[in-house]
């Protein structure tokens, strides 16, 4: 009887049922789309951050920037040439990015902090090679003075001469080959050859970024020269997203030797034992490892701007509140329509109560109808939401992420010696993954909507006294 009655009533009031179900469906579809787009945004932001850090890195530790002393010289690369002789001259310089280093012992200190699962050091270097030649000026004898002119009448003057120099610059990253699971090289995928062996701590081997290898026409088996030393190219790696962390990766010890930075690193890459406790680990490191700056993914995320950031902001504010507002309105409309339907059925419910139906049974009937309405709305909403999310993924709108904003980026991809937030721009294709949790949320909202609507109507139906119900229609 319950289901027969329920089915017939829904059929009789199908327009009202459709309005309620459509309202709920719209709200639920919006929730699914906003949730899935938000998940896509997070995924995209994660990809952006991984491109800086590498997989598995939760935070980086760098030397805290010091205020330059008053009157003190700002560290800049200096090249010295002797212009007295002609001919080709060159000057190679391999310098530490940002000129700020930490002792390698910092890695152990960081690794000992509570909540740190693993820590590994790296050295970011920039190789600048300036080469060219000077052409000395030539002494020309003085021209005899013309009548009426003031001539030099001296021994002559230097004419001509000049310089023609080219600059070749690339980035080098000294990586700890004993810890291949952590560090910026993990954000690249090996496309040719092999990566470092854990035994190659001081070997003259290199892995090149694929774009740099292509530009320099280098392949595995070739040799790449870093500050006059030749390294065998053993592998080519391609950055997963955006720019690579460095052009050339070599073992850390080799990098330290070449840059005259023995026992020095620029960055400690840290993996936390619990991803939920990153903030606490950051606090512990900042407290116990002096003169360092700890940068987490969350800190870096704050520096992401561009359309990705705008869209993420919209999804988490306007989208979220819009979907909540539509849902709330849908719940309210569903409740009011159900309540109004009860008002139109007072004689019906009064009669049933006169026949001996308990209030609870009448209420269950009303709630049941509203619940089925909610479930229909939920099914429609889930279908519409999945279609919306599928459409977003199919269209894959490209969002631009700009990284920067004054934060020190720990990775070596900055390119500039100042190592400030490198203004990196990455294009990310947006997807809208729908998780089971989102579907469960939608189903819960549908049930909740049905129960809220049923609650309105059921409450009214339960308060109905049969005498009043029958009297009101006389």
């Amino acid at each position: 009887m319950f289901f027969t009655y329920l089915r017939r009533e829904l059929r009789r009031r199908r327009k009202a049922a459709l309005v309620v179900a459509s309202g709920l469906a719209l709200g639920i579809a919006l929730v699914i789309v906003v949730n899935s787009v938000s998940a896509g945004m997070k995924q995209a932001q994660g990809e952006v951050l991984e491109s800086l850090y590498g997989l598995g890195t939760d935070m980086t530790v760098t030397k805290a920037q010091e205020e330059p002393e008053e009157g003190g010289a700002v560290a800049r690369p200096r090249f010295k040439f002797d212009a007295s002789d002609g001919g080709e001259q060159s000057n190679d310089m391999l310098m530490v990015q940002g000129f700020e280093t930490l002792s390698t012992s910092t890695v152990d200190t960081v690794a000992r902090q509570d909540g740190v699962a693993n820590a590994v050091g790296g050295l970011s270097l920039t190789s600048i090679s300036v080469s060219g030649d000077f052409k000395p000026g030539e002494m020309k004898p003085a021209q005899p003075a013309q009548p009426g002119q003031k001539g030099s009448g001296g021994s002559g003057e230097v004419r001509g001469g000049g310089a023609d120099f080219g600059v070749n610059s690339f980035t080098v990253f000294g990586t700890d080959v004993t810890e291949p699971e952590l560090g910026p090289l993990t954000s690249s995928t090996l496309t040719k050859g092999r990566t470092f062996k854990t035994s190659e701590t001081d070997a003259k081997v290199a892995v090149l970024d694929s774009a740099y290898a292509k530009k320099e026409d280098l392949a595995t088996g070739d040799e790449v020269e870093v500050k006059g030393k030749k390294f065998a190219v053993v592998g080519i790696a391609t950055a997963d997203k955006g720019q690579p962390a460095a052009n050339v990766y070599i073992p850390l010890k080799q990098a330290q030797t070449l840059a005259d930075a023995k026992g020095k690193i620029t960055t400690v890459y840290v993996k936390a034992a619990d991803s939920q406790a990153i903030s606490a680990v950051k606090d512990a490191i900042q407290k116990n490892v002096p003169d360092t700056t700890v940068t987490t993914s969350a800190d870096l995320a704050k520096t992401v701007s561009g359309s990705l950031d705008t869209a993420a902001g919209l999804a988490s504010t306007v989208g979220k509140w819009l979907s909540y507002a539509v849902l709330a309105a849908a719940f309210l409309v569903a409740g009011l329509l159900t309540s109004s339907a009860v008002s139109r059925r007072v004689r019906e419910f009064g009669t049933l109560k006169a026949l001996g139906w308990k209030s609870g049974r009448v209420t269950r009937q009303v709630v049941g109808e509203a619940l089925v309405n909610g479930l229909i709305g939920g099914a429609l909403g889930i279908a519409a939401g999945l279609a919306g999310a599928y459409a977003v993924t199919a269209v894959s709108p490209t969002l631009t992420a700009e990284l920067g904003g004054g934060l020190r980026v720990a990775g070596p991809g900055g390119g500039g010696p100042a190592q400030d937030a490198a203004e990196r721009t990455l294009d990310i294709a947006l997807s809208a993954p729908v998780s089971l949790a989102t579907i469960a949320l939608a189903a819960a909202l549908a049930i909740g909507g049905g129960l809220i609507a049923g609650g309105f109507g059921g409450w009214r139906a339960s308060r109905l006294r049969p005498a009043d119900a029958l009297r009101r229609v006389e």
């Binding site: 017939r8 009789r12 006169a354 026949l355 029958l470």
Partner: protein
């Protein structure tokens, strides 16, 4: 047996207090038949609702077989209605989306019978009021007389002790009125019911052995020796 003592019912309508029943005393023997008459607003329907346990008096007692319906908890009162009292209304009060058989079944739902038993008893009840061929018809597909027959089948399907009818012929034409009255009287005799009916129709009232007249809440009962 009904035994009403000092039943008073007042309720507020806006700022005014309306006295629907004033110190009503009434006894109805088992198997008795009483017709209640009176002007509109005189308290007829209120009295019927008191008898049916649909409303409670402001004061006084409404005893059915020794149980005071005035003070009975709501759950027990609901049970009394579901087991012992059948109602027939002027507007039939059928559920428009349910078939004749399903409408009759609604009276058996509180008795927690098996669905099969419910269907069988509903079909039998409809058969007894001459609607055996109309089990699957919706109320909208039947005439007023047929709808009232369905309502009567619904009132009697649970085999109640009491049948309360509020203007059961009020919405029917004259020929249909006589048909329904014959049916009700036949069933009253056949089942030994206590039958109380409210009517405006004097022709019907004349056929009743006892006639109660209610004016401004005050009840007077007369015996009709000629009925």
């Amino acid at each position: 047996m009904y035994d009403l003592r000092g039943v008073t019912k007042t309720y507020r309508r806006g700022k005014a207090t309306v006295q629907a029943l004033a110190d009503v005393d009434l006894t109805i023997e088992d198997g008795g038949r009483l017709v209640i008459q009176g002007p509109t607003g005189g308290g007829k329907s209120t009295l019927l609702q008191m008898l049916g346990g649909l409303d409670r008096p402001t004061s006084g007692q409404v005893a059915l077989d020794g149980t005071d319906l005035a003070t009975l908890p709501e759950a027990r009162l609901t049970r009394v209605r579901s087991e012992n009292i059948g109602f027939v209304f002027q507007s039939f009060n059928l559920i428009p989306t349910l078939t004749a058989q399903e409408n009759v079944e609604t009276a058996l739902v509180p008795l927690k019978l098996r669905a099969k038993d419910r269907r069988e008893r509903a079909a039998e009840a409809l058969e007894s009021v001459g609607l055996g061929e109309r089990l699957g018809h919706l109320p909208g597909e039947m005439s007023g007389g047929q709808q009232q027959r369905v309502a009567i089948a619904r009132a009697l399907v649970k085999r109640p002790k009491v049948l309360l009818a509020d203007e059961p012929t009020g919405n029917l034409d004259e020929s249909m009125r006589d048909e329904i009255m014959e049916l009700l009287e036949g069933l009253w005799k056949e089942h030994g019911l206590t039958f109380v009916m409210v009517t405006h129709d004097s022709a019907i009232a004349r056929r009743a052995p006892r006639l109660a007249t209610i004016r401004k809440g005050r009840l007077t009962v007369t015996e009709n020796a000629g009925a």
